[in-house]
């Protein structure tokens, strides 16, 4: 499976004596939308944050487009953690959207999206502006270009967050519980922006508690429990005919919360 865009092998990480990732293997092909579900503390957010090195990993390998992200070599031998400028280059090609939006509060919506285009991609101001406008239009915020984050609703802020990530034209997009801080009536607008991206063939890994995400966006669903991936399959199989005992319990608990 060397054609995988993301290839993770034997990934391990611990905080002190707690194993948060205990041997994770997964391949993600270009164009796939992989939805990761699982109970809190199962390691799904950590897995996501390891892929763009917001967290370091202790052992194993993460390759994005053939490049080992955390170290200058494969596991086994002596390897050096990547330095600041190498990391910045790798991260520029991996987009991320956050649970709490994390927009830059001192910049307008347009400037939030432009910052990476100008400073990282090296685009001229005018070009960056038109690309940022294009993406903000795409997420339905063409009339909010000069709004500061605190003048926007949660759903609007999160759509700016999405535009900021995809405007960089990343190889892959990481979505970390992007609707869990939103009021229920605002989830739909963010969900449909993501659906649109998935239809356009954006490769993405979606960590979520929102089962609608798994059903409507996912081309594959992965269930994590106790620092491992325990189920990996098509959404229909995983969600409708759960065969794994812990997955059944998890889905039952989620259903209960929604009724």
């Amino acid at each position: 499976m060397s054609d995988a865009l993301v290839q993770i092998r034997g990934l391990r990480k611990s905080f002190g004596t707690t194993h948060v990732l205990d041997g994770v293997d997964i391949d993600i092909t270009k164009g796939e939308a992989v939805v990761v579900i699982g109970p809190s503390g199962s390691g799904k957010t950590t897995l996501l944050r390891c892929i763009n090195l917001l967290e370091t990993y202790d052992d194993g390998s993460i390759k994005v487009d053939g490049v080992e992200v955390g170290y200058d070599g494969p596991p086994g031998g002596r390897r050096r953690p990547r330095g600041e400028s190498e990391l910045a280059k790798i991260r520029a090609d991996i987009g991320m959207v956050f649970q709490l939006f994390n927009l830059f509060p001192h910049l307008t919506a347009l400037e939030n999206v432009m910052l990476g285009l100008v400073k990282v991609r090296g685009l001229a101001k005018a070009e960056a502006k038109s690309r940022a406008e294009h993406w903000l239009n795409r997420v339905g915020l063409g009339d909010k270009l000069s709004s500061l984050p605190n003048q926007l609703s949660g759903g609007q802020q999160q759509r700016v967050g999405i535009a900021r990530a995809v405007a960089m034209e990343p190889k892959i997009l990481l979505l970390d519980e992007i609707t869990s801080a939103l009021d229920p009536e605002l989830v739909g607008e963010v969900l449909s922006a993501v659906q649109q991206l998935a239809r356009d063939g954006m490769t993405m890994i979606v960590v979520t508690h929102e089962m609608t995400f798994a059903r409507d966006v996912g081309s594959r669903v992965v269930f994590m429990d106790a620092a491992k991936i325990v189920v990996d399959g098509a959404p229909r199989d995983v969600l409708s005919n759960p065969s794994h005992e812990r997955l059944k319990t998890f889905l039952a608990r989620i259903e209960m919360k929604h009724h």
Partner: protein, 216 residues
């Protein structure tokens, strides 16, 4: 009274320029060093943070006068002979740097970790994250306590008179020595100190209003 003021003002004026010069030097030096120190405090490796902590605690825990005397009277034993003015400026700046460093540290640490995450995620390097994301937000939290510390620096500069520098303080005392009129001279000098610090406060309020765009 007016006649008296007109006669003494030129002397006080010269003292005032020295006070302004010393204050400006100290504020500028401690600003640069303090910002670097605050960055080291927040993002530096453990050994650096430890050294900065030791420096900060010692400097902030020592009376300013003792620091000035130490630099002026003790440095010659280390083979460094300094004139009173540079010695005083170094002592005051070293002291002020510790304070500015703490203010910068507080401002930087008050910025949510998610800001750094987001800045990293779009591929900004450490220097870019500081320049475009962290420092612009920290500025707002930095300004009020910093202006406060600048006014402290202006007042603290009066201690340089004790190593013989004719600042506003010593100039006032010299005028009093000649005229035997302490009250009006001290009132004039106090008014001058007040004017400096009051204009700083006004400038600071304007700046703060300008950077008040982030509501919390």
């Amino acid at each position: 009274m007016i006649d008296f003021a007109l006669k003494t003002l030129p002397f006080l004026w010269e003292g005032l320029t020295v006070t302004l010069y010393v204050s400006a030097m100290v504020v500028a030096l401690s600003l640069v060093a303090g910002v670097l120190m605050g960055i080291g405090f927040t993002y530096g490796p453990r050994w650096l943070r430890f050294l900065l902590r030791v420096y900060s605690d010692i400097l902030r825990g020592t009376p300013l006068l003792v620091l000035i005397f130490s630099v002026y009277y003790l440095m010659p034993f280390a083979g460094v002979n300094l004139n009173p003015l540079p010695a005083a400026v170094i002592a005051l700046s070293a002291f002020k740097t510790a304070h500015v460093g703490e203010i910068v540290r507080g401002a930087l640490q008050s910025i949510a970790a998610g800001q750094t995450d987001a800045a990293k995620a779009i591929g900004l390097t450490f220097a870019q994250r500081l320049a475009y994301v962290i420092l612009p937000q920290g500025l707002r939290r930095f300004l009020p306590p910093w202006v406060n510390s600048v006014t402290e620096a202006v007042k603290g500069s009066s201690l340089v008179s004790l190593v013989g520098i004719v600042d506003l303080m010593l100039a006032s005392q010299q005028v009093i020595g000649r005229t035997y009129e302490p009250m009006p001279v001290y009132v004039l000098a106090a008014f001058m100190y007040f004017l400096i610090n009051y204009s700083l406060s006004v400038a600071s309020r304007r700046l703060e209003a300008r950077y008040a765009y982030i509501r919390e």
